[in-house]
């Protein structure tokens, strides 16, 4: 009986496997705990009407936008010129910088402004000096100046087209260059990530393509 019970659990899990993408990912705030977005999945970030238009390239945005000023990445060997996070990256940082609550969005029935991001694995903060640079123009000129970066206009991304077409946003490298907020590579719900962890390292399905063998890093970095 015990066995059949665990089999039943497995079947339930397998049913969950059918769900994909953002469903049951860390970006799915529905459900019982804590259920910030009640029954809607998209609303913490998007709205069909009266969207927030303060950030360029922010499709039907619904989450309150961070007003923080960020410390920017800089090293002596850097050719790129990172700017203050703009476009898509500012949207990500509107939760991940920790200054705006995760549930601070238009039309939040739960009252909002309650759940701040604290998990150090997810919290980026406002000091971007220890993170890969973002919000810089990544073009053929930068690749030529650096000498160890692939030309984004001619180099295949591995996703069907060039780096520039598949991975850049208005010619800029942004958080979603590497990370897919909708986790479309996730085909197994929670277990898609949590079953794939090794004892040492846990790969994330939020990456737009597999980083096995550091293949994603080496898409741009000629090392």
């Amino acid at each position: 009986v015990k066995r059949s019970l665990s089999f039943g659990v497995l079947v339930l899990l397998a049913t969950a496997v059918a769900s994909a993408g953002i469903q049951d990912s860390h970006h799915d705030f529905r459900g019982s705990s804590p259920g910030w977005s009640e029954v809607e999945m998209c609303r913490p970030c998007h709205t069909p009407h009266k969207a927030i238009m303060t950030v360029p390239d922010s499709p039907l945005w619904n989450h309150f936008v961070t007003q923080a000023t960020f410390n920017l990445y800089q090293t002596t060997s850097l050719n790129a010129i990172p700017g203050q996070p703009a476009g898509r990256s500012r949207l990500c940082l509107s939760c991940h910088d920790g200054t705006v609550a995760v549930d601070a969005y238009q039309g939040d029935g739960a009252g909002g402004n309650t759940y701040y991001m604290t998990n150090p694995r997810a919290l980026v903060g406002t000091d971007l000096r220890k993170h890969h640079p973002i919000s810089f123009t990544y073009d053929a000129a930068l690749a030529a100046a650096d000498g160890e970066l692939a030309d984004p206009t001619t180099t295949a991304s591995g996703l069907g087209n060039t780096i520039a077409k598949d991975l850049l946003f208005m010619n800029q490298l942004e958080c979603p260059t590497c990370h897919d907020p909708h986790v479309s590579r996730n085909t197994q719900g929670c277990m898609g990530c949590h079953f794939s962890c090794g004892t040492i390292y846990c790969p994330t399905l939020s990456l737009r393509k597999s980083n096995a063998g550091s293949a994603f890093c080496l898409t741009c970095h000629k090392k």
Partner: protein, 222 residues
């Protein structure tokens, strides 16, 4: 003709494969899929993470650094004819020594680890007397049976300022202005001679060929 063309294309492809240089499948590729030239992790199929992380880096010299560097003092090179002023290794060379001093395990990277390090320290694997012996990569000569040695006295000096004053004082050193090798904050570091990502095909990850001792003679006017 068709077969010949195909063969030529295959040879060209093979040639491209052989000529390709980069960290992947090099001695510095410790990923589980990297061929294990020195050592391959059994669990981590990543190349960059052993040294770099995209987030929450420990430091930015080298960029997005993901290792805790050794903090101890090293015994430095010295000789009566030395004009340079040897200094304790800077961050640039300490990054190399975070494996090559023999006291820190290769897989002791910081961000991205779920468990404790399980790789033996480099010194345990390549201790003096092993097939790799003194010529091996254990520059600091520490290993578990021989800790706290921290010996750089028998290695080419590093982390000293290499400027025109030094060249003039020594008389047998090239003027470092327009040196075809990189200095780091005017200092000679490990990376002056070695290219850590194996983007060259020269032995010992040298930046330029040392055939005819060309690399040595780049600086030494002998």
């Amino acid at each position: 003709l068709r077969k010949g063309g195909l063969l030529a294309a295959m040879i060209a492809l093979l040639g491209a494969g052989i000529g390709y240089a980069g960290i992947r499948n090099s001695k510095h590729d410790f990923s589980s899929s990297g061929g294990g030239g020195i050592w391959a992790s059994s669990t981590v199929d990543q190349v960059c993470i052993f040294c770099h992380t995209p987030h929450r880096a420990v430091a930015n010299d080298p960029p997005l650094w993901n290792r805790n560097n050794p903090t101890q003092s090293f015994t430095l090179y010295g000789s009566p004819t030395l004009n340079a002023t040897p200094a304790q290794p800077t961050a640039s060379s300490r990054a190399c020594l975070s494996c090559h001093d023999g006291s820190i395990a290769i897989d002791a990277f910081v961000v991205g680890r779920l468990g404790p390090t399980n790789m033996m320290a480099l010194g345990d694997v390549y201790y003096p007397g092993s097939p790799y012996g003194q010529g091996g990569p254990n520059i600091g000569e520490n290993y578990s049976g021989n800790p706290n040695v921290n010996n750089l006295a028998n290695d080419h000096p590093i982390s000293f300022v290499y400027d025109q004053t030094l060249a003039a004082a020594d008389g047998e050193l090239r003027d470092p202005l327009n040196l075809p090798l990189p200095l780091f904050n005017t200092r000679l570091e490990c990376a002056t001679c070695h290219e850590v990502h194996a983007t060259t095909t020269f032995p010992k990850m040298l930046r330029v060929s040392n055939q005819g001792s060309a690399l040595c003679l780049t600086c030494h006017l002998k």
